[in-house]
């Protein structure tokens, strides 16, 4: 295991981190959004749509490959459409769960099916063949390039901590900001109250529906960025449809980080470590049957965490107590 292994771990960890932060915000409001993998796919779909629009504006894939088109416009379009799509997914979830009072599990699973389907469907229409449409040029030029800082002498420190693209650092900044908002501000307090006991929050004058809507949509926006990051940064724009599994890891990660975005940074590193482990491990142990078992380790750890928090039953480490329950004011 060398530095490049850990660089790979940190690169993939960011996908989990975006998904996890988004889902933590959502779950804090009492919504167990099992649609997280779908929302991620929605984000990626949005990015694909944005990329296609950018390419059409700039005048074809070849022009983009040759360096035409302003990076600001490109990044703006991709991020904008990514956020719009992810936001729509979050809005749909909220509308079904809050306004139409559907079951959260069923709704979440439907959003996942829809997201995965739409991602493949629109992806295959807008980009039928790998990189015929200059997506990799967009990925390479605008997203996966490292920070524009020139290090005279690159050593292990710069490689391990400073060699990533902007979205990696943004994820960590978002994690810290969300941590502070949830733990230290009035908005965060109200949000947690809504997730713990919507009835009481409602009685004390908090607009429960608004909190749930805003939290879920903001959460979905962040989750969607994970999809954009995976497709155009981690994968440098070559179409790849295996986002769903990464989304489920993000859902598991929420439990591992006991609903705390600060811990999520550490947790996503641990999960990414096990996610990447089979590759170097296969060089040491010459048995292929081991690697699927190793890749279940994140889930096993999650189960152990789930059991542990239910044994100790400490208030601070529990899931939000109204998690998964639909709130209807007139039900008493």
């Amino acid at each position: 295991m060398n530095i490049s292994f850990f660089v790979g771990v940190i690169s993939i960890m960011v996908v989990f981190l975006y998904g996890c932060i988004g889902e933590i915000i959502t779950e804090k409001s009492g919504h167990l959004n099992l649609g997280t993998p779908g929302v991620m796919c929605f984000g990626a779909t949005g990015a694909v749509v944005g990329a296609r629009i950018f390419i059409n504006i700039t005048g074809g894939p070849d022009a983009v490959r040759d360096g035409a088109g302003s990076p600001v416009l490109g990044i703006f379009l991709l991020v904008l459409f990514c956020l719009i799509f992810a936001g729509i997914a979050g809005l749909l979830y909220c509308f079904l769960v809050d306004t139409l009072r559907c079951n959260q599990n069923a709704t979440g699973l439907v959003i996942t099916t829809l997201g995965v389907g739409i991602y493949k469907f629109i992806g295959s229409i807008l980009c039928p063949q790998v990189d015929r449409h200059g997506f990799t040029a967009i990925g390479r030029r605008f997203f996966s390039s490292p920070l524009p800082v020139d290090f005279r002498n690159s050593n292990w420190f710069t490689q391990l901590f400073l060699s990533y693209s902007t979205l990696v650092y943004i994820a960590i900044i978002i994690a810290i900001i969300v941590f502070i908002i949830i733990k230290k501000t009035r908005i965060g307090l109200n949000l947690r109250a809504v997730g713990e006991n919507p009835g009481t929050s409602d009685a004390s004058g908090v607009n429960v529906t608004r909190y749930k809507y805003v939290a879920t949509i903001v959460g979905s926006l962040i989750t969607g960025l994970g999809g954009l990051y995976y497709l155009f940064d981690y994968n440098t724009g070559s179409m790849e449809y295996s986002l769903e599994g990464l989304g489920w890891i993000a859902v598991a990660l929420v439990i591992f980080s006991i609903w705390n975005t600060g811990l999520a940074v550490f947790g996503s590193f641990v999960f990414a470590f096990f996610y990447q482990l089979p590759t170097p491990l296969s060089n040491i142990i010459k048995n292929e049957a081991i690697s699927p078992l190793v890749s279940t380790l994140p889930y096993l750890i999650t189960i152990l965490v789930l059991i542990t928090i239910s044994i100790f039953n400490k208030k601070e480490t529990q899931p939000p107590s109204a998690l998964g329950l639909t709130y209807f004011r007139e039900d008493r």
Binding site: L114, A289, S295, L323
Partner: protein, 384 residues
């Protein structure tokens, strides 16, 4: 201001309990029609002008020959059986999201029987052993989260969800460990020369799924009766209604939780057994192919009621395999079947709102009243 009037709400929603059967049928029928229309429109957007042809291909892919129709029935049966497995758990408000993993573990049990035992014993015995192994594996897999739920109140939704991926990993590892020599990561159908441990097949319209469908029907009827008429079925619905109530009337809640989920696992085990012994005679990590998740939607939409679940299983299998056939003739990808499934369920799930709730729109009512008044005035004027 002292004379501030309480602001009337823009829209008000109240729970309704007086839905008549015909109203329910109208709501469900309308939403199904709407869902089908929407799916056709999606197809039309992706391939302009394909609106009507899409439905034509849908029917072609599901009803055109007896053989295709029997395959449809087999898929309907599998979907129904997974949904039936989930019904007792859901009725108890135990959110078992782990049917995918439980079926997969059942399939693993059946494959172990098929691989290691079937070549050495008569087929009848082999089938029984496979069956028992399948339901044992699946029941244990379901029991683990249930025990933790019963004793420690561990969140079962997340626990069962994780168990799915554990199962996938274990099965993937098993496959690589026992892969057919020369193949990477697959096991060829086992015992295909001797057919040892295979479900007996009778030919019916060129189709070999007849016994499977009979078994599915039997299990579905048994579970339907269990939920509807047995004391166990009553107990689990009380636990689902309120655990405290159940405790006060002397129901052992822990026992009921574990018993019900083990039953849920056993039925998932039957699915695994049928997939292996009556279907592919081998295993792959994707053998359940998402039925565990879709069945959750079927079960929810069918309101834990077996005949309704059969209805939805049929519709959703028709939608997904029909649209999949359409995609092979029309210029878009196979993913339309996932999109169609999701759109279908979104509409169905959303429509339950109109079954369970009344919508009051005060301003609209006022508006209608005003218009009515206007008409009455005019009528009076005309009469005068």
């Amino acid at each position: 201001m002292a004379d501030k009037v309480a602001r009337e709400k823009f829209i008000r929603i109240s729970r309704r309990t007086d839905v008549k059967l015909w109203q329910r049928i109208v709501i469900i029928g309308a939403s199904i029609l709407f869902a089908f229309l929407l799916i056709g429109l999606i197809s039309n957007i992706a391939a302009p002008g394909s609106f009507l042809r899409f439905y034509e291909y849908m029917f072609k892919g599901t009803f055109s020959t007896p053989r295709i129709f029997m395959t449809l029935l087999w898929n309907v049966g599998l979907m129904l059986l997974v949904a039936v497995a989930l019904a007792p758990a859901f009725k108890m408000r135990f959110w078992n999201i782990g049917a995918e993993g439980q079926c997969l573990m059942g399939a693993l049990g059946a494959v172990i029987g098929l691989y290691f035992i079937a070549p050495h014993v008569p087929t009848f015995l082999a089938l029984i052993i496979e069956f028992l192994l399948a339901i044992l594996f699946a029941a244990v897999w379901a029991a683990i989260p249930a025990i933790f739920k019963a004793f420690l109140n561990t969140n079962e939704t997340l626990f069962t969800l994780m168990m799915n991926y554990m199962a996938t990993g274990i099965v993937a590892s098993f496959i690589i460990f026992n892969q057919t020599p020369g193949r990477s990561g697959t096991i060829d159908p086992l015992n295909s020369a001797t057919k040892a441990g295979w479900m007996p097949q009778i030919q019916f319209f060129h189709n070999s799924y007849v016994y499977n469908i009979i078994i599915i029907a039997l299990v579905a009827v048994v579970i339907w009766g269990y939920l509807r008429f047995s004391k166990h079925g009553y107990e689990l619905s009380v636990v689902g209604g309120s655990q405290n109530t159940a405790r006060y009337v002397g129901i052992n809640v822990k026992k009921v939780i574990i018993r019900t989920i083990v039953l849920s696992g056993v039925v998932c085990g039957v699915v695994g057994f049928l997939l292996v012994a009556g279907g592919s005679h081998t295993i792959s990590a994707s053998i359940v192919s998402g039925r565990g998740f879709t069945a959750i939607l079927v079960c929810w939409a069918g309101n834990f009621n077996v005949p309704m679940m059969l209805f939805y299983s049929f519709l959703i299998t028709f939608v997904s395999s029909g649209s999949s056939t359409a995609s092979s003739a029309l210029p878009y990808s196979d993913a339309i079947s996932e999109v169609a499934t999701a759109v279908f369920f979104i509409i169905i799930i959303a429509s339950t709102f109109f079954v369970n709730f009344n919508v009051h729109i005060p301003w609209l009512k006022k508006l209608i009243d005003k218009i009515k008044d206007l008409f009455k005035k005019k009528e009076k004027e005309a009469a005068q």
